[in-house]
Symmetry: C3
Subunit: 449 residues, 3 copies
């Protein structure tokens, strides 16, 4: 393998003398690449070759990965994406460029990707994905209200020192949501990096494209497969991959997917290339008369994530335009009758959930008015159940119904929703009857995960 | 892709003039196809070609899917399975046949499949799969006793209107169990369709074959892969796919399955074509001296689904004949010693579970006799635990032992069984000692799922 | 398939007369094979051919499996691994060797594998894998303290007879941990076999190599795939496969792994053959300057399995030498900056867990000193939560952080850790305040699995 890379490098050096020239002289912050260059120039610059040569020794895995990808075939190398201006806040120098006027950033934000993929990044920036770092990571006050996290203070009797330990945020939340990267001498400060899709970079870029198109292959094929979404869209609070894989669509993917044609061009990937849709097919890919979009909110109708389900609009979606788009996806394979029946089941599931949520919300407000809620919501069984009602079981019921995953809609969804709701009623009745909060509330550790 | 379909259609038209003729004149309810035709006739009828042509535009995915399948290669097209007599209760007309004397049914029951696959459907109709719609969907009274569902009345304080919302049944139960399809003007009424394997159709047919052989490929390969079973046989109450995939059999499938020969003819698919069995291998496929069966109950011994495990007989199985059949499967790869050891472990696991169940059942009857059970079983901790004992953890223990999934047999099975049983004992002791039902019973929302 | 085997056998018979000779005359306990033989001899002995011939009829699956493997290509057959001296405690005779002086053992311990693979077995014997049968299976007293198991006595009111039922051990624990095989007339006694990786055999051998290299293929490819580890490293108490598959590494495996080069020689399998590491890559395989090891403890730093996390040393690991080895693995693809950031997140996660554990441990000791613990830990909510704190949620938090699985680090880990800890505090406070154990403790059946 490594020998192969060296041969490539030698070949590329030869190519350099025939065709190459140093591109590193253009006048913007990310100077090295434009679409025009790609069409005309061949071979790698001397500097680019140095990167490749050194990294094929030091980190051969990523060079091998790049070498087989579409980027390499288009002549895009390390140099094109990682070299930045000295003034870039993420600028630093690796040993290979020490003493030169070349500065690099190991981190690459969507700002760099945007140079060749402007439409994709523009669409992405309109999506919920671009806003993910806000609530749980950047806006800490909101964060603490939502979850068990505490930084910089006392928490449940654990002493202050450890209270500053940000391990839960770093090992959990920010891995998917992203974070705000902070730098010192151009290098990311540990704990503020690496992070997920919504990451906010010091260069002002928002979005880590390599979450779905993993580096250094950056393939379209990978992002079309459901597992690309699965490293974040899983688990007790939004088991999207679990629901997909248990649906008939998922069954067809698992039993037949290895034969599908994953590498068609965008907008050319159509039913027939695949037997069943993946996450990307319905939410992003071109299909029939629809064009590819990197705004995952575009084809959505209901908000199934938050407390009460309403039609997504404004920042959260496409209003009434979402559903007709999604129906167009379905009707590439399904009749209008079946499509309508499926959406009606979703609508009724949402309505049923909303009824329960509103009733639960009324109880909460009632108890609050009567002074029958504990101050710390996380040591109050009623408030914990309220959280699980909408954040866990309510989502599972709604999402299971939306994506045809009966096990999640039922057992992990409505079945548990009914149980949680009834338990809330019992607590509510106890507090109202005795006009006090029950003493023994230590029953929540086995939350309906 | 779509262009390819059009070319196919043009080619087929040409073929039509050479060989084709209209088959739509035979004298039964499903007039278009017999085995004899398949052997002699070539090309598609004019009507069949019209279906293909129109749907290759409107729903290209399903046409592409059909085109690559064995059905298309045998000359079976849309027309052969979807055209019905006008008198068929599922008969309607799509725009393409409006004004003709052709009637179609988008729904296809096992009655149609049976015309070419009589043995398979006959075997299927003897299996538990064919009876699945009964208890949870059609017999609503039984259903409500078993689960948290309520239609057409007040439920846990949620107002009557929403009580009529059948979303939980439609998004959950009937997706696997099937339902009784109701029609209006030949079209299925939303909410009574689509549904799972046990579906009962207005034409009297029972069974939705496309659950395992998904449309419009209908492949044998798919149904041999474990994921075909997994969209129903999963989750907290019968985690069959989870148990399989964690077994050594599953390990071999996951690490090597992509190389196996999945497409052998029925009864010709033998060890060597695969390294390890899938669900189908043990429960359905021909192997060694055994022939293929679509009666999944045939090789079963114990009933591991219901309250007390007994040998399956009558409607539920093959009596004492089940086990010798299954042992024959095992002994294609395993010694008699190992086969016997494995079944002995299962027998002992069943015996252990039965002991716990009987003790739990005795407590239940005792509390009932003493008036110490709540009327609504779903707001009575003891009765909820009783349900989880047999319906969830007890099944997991027994099924984990049956299929060699140690994580399920232990952690999700016997480990939890012991905990549930002990909690039942504590509640029992409390009620007996104080001769009353405990006031605070709001602890069940985190049921042992 | 079976016909193919017969042809092979006939061919091999022919080969026998040209090259073969009976190897069964060497002077040790496992007489039939040495590396030298493999290099020189061709063809199978008459006895070996008889095994093949008979088993290709009786258990064609395993013969087909063997035939395609590297063992068969190296001339190693049934005879070489299964024939033992008459004096071997596992010696018996199948019908095929009855009346001859040939004795066989269907069971094969690492002692046999060691003859050709001495380094691998030597490394394995130093690993935790080789010690797995001890605590939960062989040392029953320790076992009962840890888990819900009881053999040979009364257990929770279930009568003594069933108390002797070892089904839970046989269907659960020993399937992964291994057991101590007992024999009668050379045959394994049901219930003491078959079993997992740490199995102790009557011939003194420790270790069942076929757990990862499943019989009768024994492939390196299989053991490199994550699912080989997954049949044991899964579930609520150490969800290693779940964590891996949700990590970016797992995403790359799931989306691209079918194209990887799985079959390179040991130490020649390098990044570029794969896009992302599997379990084996990091914990066992040769990579860069590191050589392959079958001691899975070698590259570990923290003990993430036991109560308080400390650096693994002595029997449990490589002390301070573990981490630098693992960092060398990472740096084949990742920068020092990113590698360090990741390990710092792990260290902080371990520190945070340890703080909680120590505080929980202090409460336990305090309650014990005050006589406020029940005698049976399994009917005492506080002690059950203590067990879940370290054995379940604490492991998930730590392992999730170690392997970059944010869903497990957070939702199944720290999120639940905080809930369990707080519930322990509530129980503690109640007992201290009232100086008694609460009466209603029946809330633990829904443990945080």
């Amino acid at each position: 393998m490594r020998k192969g890379v060296l041969i490539l490098v030698l070949f590329a050096f030869t190519a350099l003398f025939a065709y190459g020239e140093n591109n590193a002289t253009k006048g913007n912050n990310y100077p090295n690449l434009s679409k025009a260059d790609l069409k005309i120039k061949r071979g790698y610059s001397k500097e680019a070759l140095k990167c490749i040569q050194c990294h094929s020794e030091k980190t051969p895995g990523i060079v091998a990965d790049w070498k087989d990808g579409r980027m390499a075939h288009a002549g895009v190398s390390c140099y094109d994406c990682h070299v930045v201006k000295k003034s870039n806040p993420m600028a630093s120098q690796c040993p290979g460029v020490k003493g030169t006027n070349i500065y690099i950033s190991p981190m690459v934000s969507s700002k760099t990707c945007q140079k060749c993929h402007p439409t994709e990044v523009e669409q992405f920036l309109k999506s919920g994905h671009a806003k993910l770092a806000a609530a749980p990571v950047v806006d800490k006050a909101k964060f603490q209200k939502l979850m068990y996290h505490f930084e910089g203070g006392e928490f449940m009797g654990v002493k202050k020192g450890i209270g500053k330990n940000t391990a839960t945020r770093r090992s959990g939340c920010q891995m998917c949501h992203g974070t705000k990267v902070e730098v010192k001498n151009g290098k990311p400060i540990n704990g503020t990096w690496p992070a997920g899709v919504g990451t906010r970079y010091p260069d002002g870029g928002i979005g880590n494209c390599s979450v779905c198109h993993t580096r250094h292959r950056f393939s379209i094929e990978e992002a079309r497969k459901p597992e690309a979404c699965a490293s974040c869209h899983l688990g007790p609070d939004h088991p999207n991959i679990e629901i997909y894989l248990e649906s008939k669509h998922g069954q067809m993917y698992l039993t037949d997917g290895e034969k599908w044609n994953w590498d068609s061009a965008p907008d050319a990937w159509e039913p027939g290339d695949y037997r069943a849709p993946t996450c990307a097919t319905c939410h992003m890919s071109g299909i029939g008369e629809l064009s590819t979009t990197h705004n995952v909110n575009e084809r959505l109708h209901w908000d199934l994530m938050h407390k009460k389900s309403v039609v997504r609009s404004g920042e959260r979606g496409n209003g009434k335009k979402g559903r007709p788009l999604m129906k167009k996806v379905c009707q590439n394979c399904h009749s209008k009758t079946q499509t309508d029946a499926t959406f009606e089941t979703l609508d009724d599931s949402v309505a049923l959930y909303n009824e329960y949520f509103e009733k639960a919300d009324k109880m909460l407000k009632d108890l609050k008015a009567k002074g029958l809620l504990k101050k710390d919501p996380w040591s109050d069984s009623f408030q914990e159940l309220y959280y699980f009602l909408w954040h866990h079981v309510g989502r599972r019921a709604r999402m299971g119904a939306a994506m045809n995953g009966p096990d999640y809609a039922h057992w992990h969804g409505f079945f548990q929703l009914f149980q949680v709701f009834k338990d809330m009623q019992e607590i509510y009745n106890y507090r109202i009857k005795h006009n006090k909060i029950e003493e023994v509330s230590f029953v929540m550790s086995s939350a309906p995960l």
